[in-house]
Amino acid sequence: MSSTVAEPLPDLVVGEQPLADAEASVSVRALRSRFGEAIRGVRLDAVGTPVVSIDPARVHDALSFLKTDADQAYDLLLDVMGADPGGDLVIQVWYQLWSMENGRMLRLLVLLPRADLSVQSAVDLYPAADWLEREVYDMYGVSFEGHPDLRRILMPENYDEGFPLRKDFPLRGRFTRSEQVRRALNRSTEDVYAREELALAGVLEAEPAAELAADEAGEAEDYLAGEKMVINMGPQHPATHGVLRLVLQLDGETIVRCIPHIGYLHTGFEKTCEYREWNQVVPYTDRMDYLAPMLYNIGYAGAVESLLDVEITPRCQVVRLIMSELNRLLGHLLWLGTGAMDVGATTVFLYTFQERERIYNLHEAYCGGRITTSVTRIGGMVADLPVGWLDACRELVNGLPATLDEAERLLTRNSIFQARLVDVGIIDAEKALEFGLTGPNLRASGIAYDVRKARPYLGYEEYDFDVPVGVVGDAYDRYLVRMEEMRQSIRILQQALDRVPDGPINVQDPAVILPDKSEAMSSIDAMISHFKLVMEGVQVPAGDVWYSIEATKGELGFGLISDGGPKPVRCRFRGPSFVNLAALPYLVEGGLVSDVIAANASIDIVLGEIDR
């Protein structure tokens, strides 16, 4: 489709160093010379990524230039995020772009006046924009012209209270609670299904054009193939990994269309976080990806620290890295257990849960919680490691390979397992990039992009580990990649456990971290800073940032905007499985209905972060 993949991709995607000045960026200069007046401003965000503010009328041209120009080659659209600074100010739409070939990141910013909330859709350039734009529409009411299917995605389709993430929308909704309950229970079938699906099922009359097309197609084929059937899978289904709903149109056993519906777990995280102080957001983060909670804690803390320009202590860095890798194992082990169970192998689930219980024990010894850990604080951690924790962790890490071997012995060469996974849900590198896949799903398609290597954080560049990639991009490859990733995590852990330095775990900055209790009781300075921090919270300077880490499911991005106050103006969480799930119809259409389960299990989703 474009020249992006014509160039062979590098073996390993490695990012450029952050810039000191926005004008030094190649892309900024190219955009300036090409779009001149349409460029409204250029600056760097808190981690040194260039931000280009551009005229809404030209943004589609700019995206198209950035994607197709050989020197730019921004082939991955990571995120489209909306933001409302409040008052009568304009609504912002941000695009996050990444170029695999050059290892560069660029952010485009569009300011839309409230009277005219429309911008041209980017779906024709980046299919990944499909769901991302629908979300911005759902939450802010920005209409994307040319979008093929612009309707609400997280809220119910006939939701009539407004656009939740706008600042003038009350946190608890516009209607009273009893009214909200009444409305929710009074929804009719038409509201739960999209019009198109009702037409497919024959409840509504099909649009004339669709009917014609169906007739013509029907005549050409065998008359037995005619009758299509619509089935509804979920939101209460054992194999959808949560409250995902898929509407499938079948021709016999073959899937003709698959339409995912999400939002049954939309929890309003992003809205609620705007009403919490920076440190109070931490407990919300681990409830998004409850399969690997600490990764969200750590990513969020890192993002806020980059806004504050705080450097965490060396000990904290290594502790966070250990926690990250433990949680990667935690997430992958759950995927392994449930994924195997989905295709009929229950034993693996029992093995992996045993191992997860051991990791939970470590969580518990450290912070008291098993799943909802909330371990980070801005500038440090909730506590230092307890005595003996590192030894317990070492013991666990040494025992893990045996469990993995056992699981592999049961699965990898198992002919039933292979029959269910090999050549199911194939996606090649070009398509995977277009859909914005990240994490193991992208690597299984052959692109060695890992945030830990491309833009190292927490000192990942000092550790020795490999990035496994797949060849075919099918469900079996995704299985193999994740298995190998677990072994690499063990490798990282073995290195990290030997280099935990001594020293304080928290930064020694009274404006960020609470002083010791004993100090607060004995020194007046410490008492004052304790009081100020408790009463006012951490003050984060005005600014914005896009900070991402490698979570278990892909690139986990945090888009934060601060106005200098104690609370965030915008807290955007780019849950990787939200974008990954949008590729599911591509993976399953044309396949058999039983493959939906295998394909869905293989992309490893968690509804908590999809619906947020």
Partner: protein
């Protein structure tokens, strides 16, 4: 005080005359014993796991906590073959009609455990999308506190349901009454929903609304006797 009297135990500690409902015959009590024994030891849960709490529910089914010890390991993903609904996780207004529908599809007798702060009261999400307690939508037998509750808590809730089943009787159908008119309708009247859905409302008002005494008022036998005497005056 008038309300309190209605909740007095049907067994009179003083041995006086208290209305205990229809007389339980010898046969009925024997049949009850057998039926309740079999019901409580083979509860088939309908796991409505939506979020983090569902992971703890899975851990409960795992080998360490092993819910099979209580005869409840047969997770039934079809509501038609289930008798214990476990709502584990947050329920949104978008999910509410589905929750109600699944509950209506479960045949009697059925019980419900509301697992975790979110299901019981909305938890830390007092916002535009989360139902502030599933008891606004379906009746609940046991609330499990915690965010998430540990597997032990869920097992304890299961034992409480078993305990509740022990006290049921075929002669007293009050628990099993269900009118088809109530299908698809909220479980509480609008005023009650407003009351429990206030900020912090559910934690303080829920017990009263659901007809259970406040959890703080533990009534010791002596208090009960005093109240009873008061009642007899």
């Amino acid at each position: 005080m008038a309300d309190d009297r209605k909740k007095l135990p049907t067994v009179n500690p003083l041995g006086g005359d208290v209305d205990t409902g229809p007389p339980a015959s010898w046969l009925i009590t024997k049949v009850d014993a057998v039926v309740n024994w079999s019901r409580r030891n083979s509860l088939w849960p309908m796991p409505l796991g939506t979020a983090c709490c569902a992971i703890e529910m899975m851990a409960t089914a795992g080998s360490k906590y092993d819910i099979a010890r209580f005869g409840a390991e047969r997770f039934s993903f079809s509501p038609r073959q289930a008798d214990l609904m476990i709502v584990a996780g947050r329920v949104t207004y978008k999910m509410a009609p589905i929750l109600r529908r699944i509950w209506d599809q479960m045949p009697q007798p059925k019980w419900c455990i509301s697992m975790g702060a979110c299901a019981s009261s909305g938890g830390m999400f007092d916002n535009y999308t989360i139902v502030q307690g599933i008891d606004q939508i379906i009746p609940v037998d046991v609330y499990v506190p915690g965010c998430p509750p540990r597997p032990e808590s869920l097992l304890y809730a299961l034992m409480m349901v078993q305990e509740k089943i022990k006290g049921e009787s075929l002669a007293n159908p009050v628990h099993r009454e269900e009118s088809p008119d109530s299908a698809g309708k909220p479980n509480l009247p609008p005023e009650a929903i407003e009351l429990v859905a206030q900020p912090f409302g559910n934690s303080t008002r829920q017990n009263r609304i659901s007809g259970v005494e406040g959890s703080s008022a533990i009534s010791r036998p002596r208090d009960r006797r005093e109240r009873l005497l008061e009642h007899q005056d």
